[in-house]
Symmetry: C2
Subunit: 206 residues, 2 copies
């Protein structure tokens, strides 16, 4: 298994984290995004959008972090990480979608702007808009995590916890404090206690 | 089955369309969002985010359009609408996530701004940003649909086609022309030919 990877990217970190928690060995292939290695014809054949992460597993190529988490869970993990039962599966997909929505355009975008990340997202809109949406995202997470240990509402973590964790935990790198969000911080600590947990890239907390 | 619904909402329309294609009878409960009916304590108990659509099915309550599509597909539809095979499922989730990302913050947001929709999304960022992201979304869709009949890459439509169709087809209501996107328009026609298809709310085409 090969992961086309960028150290600083939270989307790549999601995959590294899940692989580490599952105890799966893989080869990490750093992609020099600043040098345009994600825009070569070889890379675009793997992901036409020219974005990391990309995972290859034998003849299979998967791009997009949510899609990779689904593939890994269905192929290599216990069902608890991606339950097949309709209500539970719909809940996992809801929070994967939330991650691509409020989390991406709020928390992730604010960080991309402040760190001057080499991604189109960093060019979109203003820092103030991003931070406002980041706080909306944290409000929604706080509400859910006040009533539930894990995002999808079950007794065990699922891939949507893995998906939502990185950009939430790196909120302060986008100028968004996590101090007011008690339940979010408790949930983060639980993720950080998972067997196999690996540290975030260059984490700044609170 | 009850759908808490707003006629003009593309997210609600996704559910009405899928229910119609599946031939499922349901009761439509209009929610007067302008009058704040989505902020009452009864409504917030169903969806803490105070947004339509919400579906109830017996004792089960599901909110968020992607989550509702997953629930309906897993509970009432043939497996082709949401395949369980890892690569296919990951592809469906990729495009559901894309819908909540570029489609939502591009096509949907541009429309929300121009139609002055009663949703927080209409307040976020500028029209120009929204339209630029809308064109990025259409470029990505065009690339995928030039090589594939359906978004997830299989021979039949899945719930990610249902999810991506409404705000794409309503692009012109956000000031974004679909004229340059031949493959996208061909895909839209195929969706519009599905048995049970129902018309978009107040559609403006090209």
């Amino acid at each position: 298994m090969k992961l086309y990877d960028l150290e600083i990217s939270g989307n790549c970190y999601k995959i590294r984290l899940f692989l580490a928690v599952l105890g799966i060995e893989y080869t990490r292939i750093p992609v020099d995004v600043k040098a345009g290695e994600n825009k070569t014809s070889e890379f675009l054949e793997m992901n036409p959008n020219g974005l990391v992460p990309v995972l290859t597993d034998g003849a299979t190529t998967i791009y997009d972090s949510a899609a990779i988490l689904v593939y890994l869970a269905k192929t290599y993990a216990d069902e608890e990480w991606l339950p097949g039962e309709p209500i539970q599966l719909s809940s996992v997909v809801r929070w994967l979608a939330f991650e691509q929505s409020e989390v991406r355009y709020g928390l992730c975008r604010a960080r991309a702007k402040l760190l001057n990340m080499p991604t189109p997202l960093a060019q979109l809109g203003t820092l103030e808009d991003s931070q406002a949406l980041a706080r909306q995202a944290l409000d929604i997470l706080e509400k859910q995590l006040t009533q539930n240990d894990w995002l999808a509402g079950g007794l065990k973590p699922t891939i949507c916890d893995i998906a939502c964790y990185p950009y939430t935990a790196m909120g302060p790198e986008g100028g968004v404090s996590l101090q007011p969000y008690t339940a979010v911080r408790r949930w983060m600590e639980k993720i950080e206690s998972l067997d196999g947990y690996i540290a975030l890239p260059g984490q700044v907390r609170i």
